[in-house]
Subunit: 342 residues, 2 copies
Amino acid sequence: MAAESTVELESSMKEHRDDDEKSNGFSVSAVSMDVEGGDKDPSGNGVSSVIPGWFSEISPMWPGEAHSLKIEKILFQGKSEYQKVMVFQSSTYGKVLVLDGVIQLTERDECAYQEMITHLPLCSIPNPKKVLVIGGGDGGVLREVARHSSIEKIDICEIDNMVVEVSKQFFPEVAVGFNDPRVTLRIGDGVAFLKAAPEGTYDAVIVDSSDPIGPAQELFEKPFFQSVARALRPGGVMCTQAESIWLHMDIIEDIVSNCRHIFKGSVNYAWTTVPTYPSGMIGFMLCSTEGPLVDFKHPVNPIDQKDCQKSVRPLKFYNSEIHTAAFCLPSFAKRKIGSKET
Amino acid sequence: MAAESTVELESSMKEHRDDDEKSNGFSVSAVSMDVEGGDKDPSGNGVSSVIPGWFSEISPMWPGEAHSLKIEKILFQGKSEYQKVMVFQSSTYGKVLVLDGVIQLTERDECAYQEMITHLPLCSIPNPKKVLVIGGGDGGVLREVARHSSIEKIDICEIDNMVVEVSKQFFPEVAVGFNDPRVTLRIGDGVAFLKAAPEGTYDAVIVDSSDPIGPAQELFEKPFFQSVARALRPGGVMCTQAESIWLHMDIIEDIVSNCRHIFKGSVNYAWTTVPTYPSGMIGFMLCSTEGPLVDFKHPVNPIDQKDCQKSVRPLKFYNSEIHTAAFCLPSFAKRKIGSKET
């Protein structure tokens, strides 16, 4: 089994070297991988050296548990300036994008995250025109923003160009978002980009970040939220990835408290099911700035399938009922978060 | 590591032998376990022989993925007439009950399943008095049923006495349900029990079964649903465990179709988050018999904390908002299930 994996890896590594040569100077520094035993994972990508042929997601963010997916073929392994990047074909979840050993998306369930993080904020305000996406280098949020015909301008600031290039190469149905003519991509630091943005520019800012350990750390801190609030128009909205109520209630309480101080409109927590994220779910922090009231729980701008470009696939996950339901919290979370919401 | 695990196992096996001697003739035939390598899992309990010290849930029911929990100590391993039974102390999810290698409950997240499978049906009808639980040998559903002060009689029919005894020994906060004086426990076949039950006996039947591979198979088939409908009063309700929309839409469609034929009242599908179940969620099939209309989505019998016995812990998960939200389905599931609901 180990020998087979090694052969397979060599073959796939060669494949992506060939691909690199075609891609106009985009190159990767591939890391070595040892699947032949030992307890260590020298790739740092989560490729299990103890379960040959499986990827295991082990992290200090969720100690004592690990979700594993069977690998059919490793399609890409690289190391950017910021993180390790891997793509593999899984046996039952389609292709999988992994950053620093943590699953970012799988083809089978990415619809839940991308549709919810986008339409929860955009369906909560009438007529959104200008949207900023921080992170989201895979392009999935762009694909979802582009469904709204009212949108005129979509800025995206992603720190890691390798994520963009890898997504375009291996996840065309996700990266399709980059093809929309309203999109302007900046490769750079989202924190700096926001600081430089003119005040009151955006109707919505969507923060599609990885976990608060690694390059995304600043995106969970107070100064960043202040920059977001400043860049939004009055009554503008922010939606940010905000961890799981089962695993990180302490982080969530901090995020909610910070947002309560900075956003003078509504502050609400929502969540959705995503099987391949730790604990099988992920939360979102939704906030609005002072100005026209935003009632996140009752979407005023429902998305109509007829409204979508014909080239875009139908919505798989989001609908108005699940929008409202996403704000209903289990009692243990309601007791801790509910009192802090506005 | 392997050597340590072996020592630990021997010590815990001795412990439960001692315990057995105290428990009035309840005995187990402990299975052997080899944690020292090789690809096989001779215990059949999911104790990983490839990640020493971890439990991995691998099943043909969810090919290509596995959730793993770190084992602190194995507390019990036995084999009943029906299945393999294991209890271990995990490092971050408390104690864990495993049947035939599949996680049934963990102390950390059992509240979600037990509270939802019980209060979704019981809060949907006024004044429930007689309840039957099929399966549910851990006692958690009984604990939840007992919160309702209107209840006069709780019958439970569990096929496997080892589950009951193991739960009483290792999960006192779950098995506390057996202490309620309204409870009558039968050890036996739920299918036969229901056939023998007088027609129109129960206000609610709750089917807390394991997956449809193994001893619970019959509980997902049409003749069983017919027996349930017969045993319910007019306008009585059934709630049964009904798999995950992410993994088993085909099974769910069959269950919904079968129920539509048999239950002439309402037929609705709901779901909840449970981190340690495959895909991080589990669904419920809710049906009512012909008679007074049951609107499952709007609970007419909200559970009041003051109504609960003081000895019972407060509700951790269930509330009226999450009751209603549980019936909101993602679009991909709504398209397949929605048209079949009544």
